[in-house]
Amino acid sequence: MRPLLEIENLRVTFPTARGDIDVVRGVSFTLGRERLGIVGESGSGKSMTGRSILKLVRAPGRATADKLAFDGIDLSTRSEKQMRAIRGARISMVMQDPKFSLNPVMTIGEQIAEALLTHKRLPRREVNDRVHAMLESVRITDPERVARLYPHEVSGGMGQRVMIAMMLIPEPDLLIADEPTSALDVSVQAQVLDIIDELVRRKGMGLIFISHDLNLVSSYCDRILVMNTGEVVEECRAGELMNATHPYTRGLIASIPRLDETRDELPVLDRSAWAKA
């Protein structure tokens, strides 16, 4: 079976006063109908990699690749109009900053309904039922009330769950989830991840899961890429992340506090290299 996604030598470049800088530098990977985690410190290029797949890198940034294929479709030659038909319906992305990505003047219910209707015609009644059912499935206990709220009236974690609901309702083939659960308590987080998992198993959806939470990614994904300054420095099976060997990955692991923490100070990465920038 051909892979769902093939990426070869992806680069994302930004012009700066001191010349061009590559914030993604030659990233290559393939993705099947599986759960791929991407971890790495802030600024390492995780979100830019995700956005490149949807061709959503904003100017003046530029993304180029030797190969960028989704389900056999060469994305690099698709027009903006053709990409719009793919986005949402076939590939969707939960953006890192939910409050920023939601429309502030539309209610939560209207926005989820819109996500559903761009890809399917349905009678009004059924739309409402589907919206409420979707909110309930992301563990929002009073969907009728929440559907009527505006984005500034929901909590941090509710905003994230609304984004997830919007991205899952069209049942895409590939979901790119950028820090989708960072504002959720662990219990709701586990339940929301189960819903995503269900789509991976039932529909064969592929998942790219970008996260700062190494423990979570290692217990939830199949495979992990570790990124540092735009490059993949290590790749491993998810269950083996805690035995990673690269010094950078080891540094990240050491800085995570533990439930039975006794250290008075946490070790941090030596950033002197890029602190000069």
Binding site: S42, F100, V154, G157, D185, N215, S219, L252, E261, L266
Partner: protein, 246 residues
């Protein structure tokens, strides 16, 4: 002395009551965590204390003085809040200098330049960042600016709403070390919302667990570290956290 005391706090937005009889006593110099279910009202409690959610009944006392319902200038010199969203909470067109200096101007405090530099140094921000805009800073640097802004008026109490949940683990470690040091040096009191129990273990003395607008359990951090929380809901949170780490 009690730094912060909440008694039977019921907070509402319009017709919807969000919290039910929330009561807490936090000692001066203590670091106290508020954890629990997403949407249970944790941010709302902090907002009520900060004067940003004015519809409440009950009592809020800060350093022995009852607080009113609105924004209160004298109060903001004692108690400051760091918001949940590090990307949205800084004004995109204000430099670090403008962001930090603003509170001094509002409160008519002089010696602006020296105060800005002093606070930047205390949060570990190099002077070269002083005239940068938020988009020219990394996530961790932005969060340092947000903490620095809260420290400008030399408050006694910091209300921290998930100060590290949007940060990578290494930057999180820097911010947690920073908060620990600031608390020691300035004898600050923390009330911190987080859903990360290991962060509680590292930084806090006690925690309260919230669900559906109520506090279901208050415990010491040693009980958390030993896995000795009592309520079924607290135990569930603890067990899921422990399972991820193994």
């Amino acid at each position: 002395m009690t730094a912060l005391s909440l008694k039977d706090l019921d907070i509402s937005y319009g017709d919807t009551q969000i919290t039910h009889k929330v009561s807490l006593d936090i000692a001066e110099g203590e670091s106290f965590a508020l954890v629990g279910e997403s949407g249970s009202g944790k941010s709302t409690v902090l907002k009520a204390i900060a004067g940003l959610a004015p519809e409440w009944t009950g009592e809020i006392c800060v350093l022995g003085k009852a607080r009113g319902h609105g924004v209160d200038r004298g109060f903001s010199r004692i108690c400051q809040m760091v918001f949940q969203d590090p990307y949205g909470s800084l004004h995109p067109r204000k430099t670090v200098d403008a962001t930090l200096g603003e509170a001094l101007t509002i409160h008519g405090i002089g010696d602006r330049s020296a105060r800005v530099e002093e606070v930047m140094a205390s949060v570990g921000l190099d002077r070269k960042f002083r005239f940068r805009f938020p988009h020219q800073l990394s996530g961790g640097q932005r969060q340092r600016v947000a903490i620095a802004r809260a420290l400008m008026l030399k408050p006694k109490i910091l209300l921290l709403d998930e100060p590290t949940s949007a940060l990578d683990v290494s930057v999180q470690a820097e911010i947690l070390n920073l908060l620990k040091r600031l608390r020691r040096e300035q004898n600050l009191t923390f009330l911190m919302v987080t859903h990360n129990l290991p962060v509680v273990s590292f930084l806090c003395d006690r925690l309260a667990v919230m669900r559906h607008g109520r506090i279901v359990e208050v415990a010491g951090v040693d009980e958390l570290k030993r896995g000795d929380l009592k309520e079924p809901y607290s135990r569930e949170l603890m067990q899921i956290s422990a399972a991820h780490a193994s």
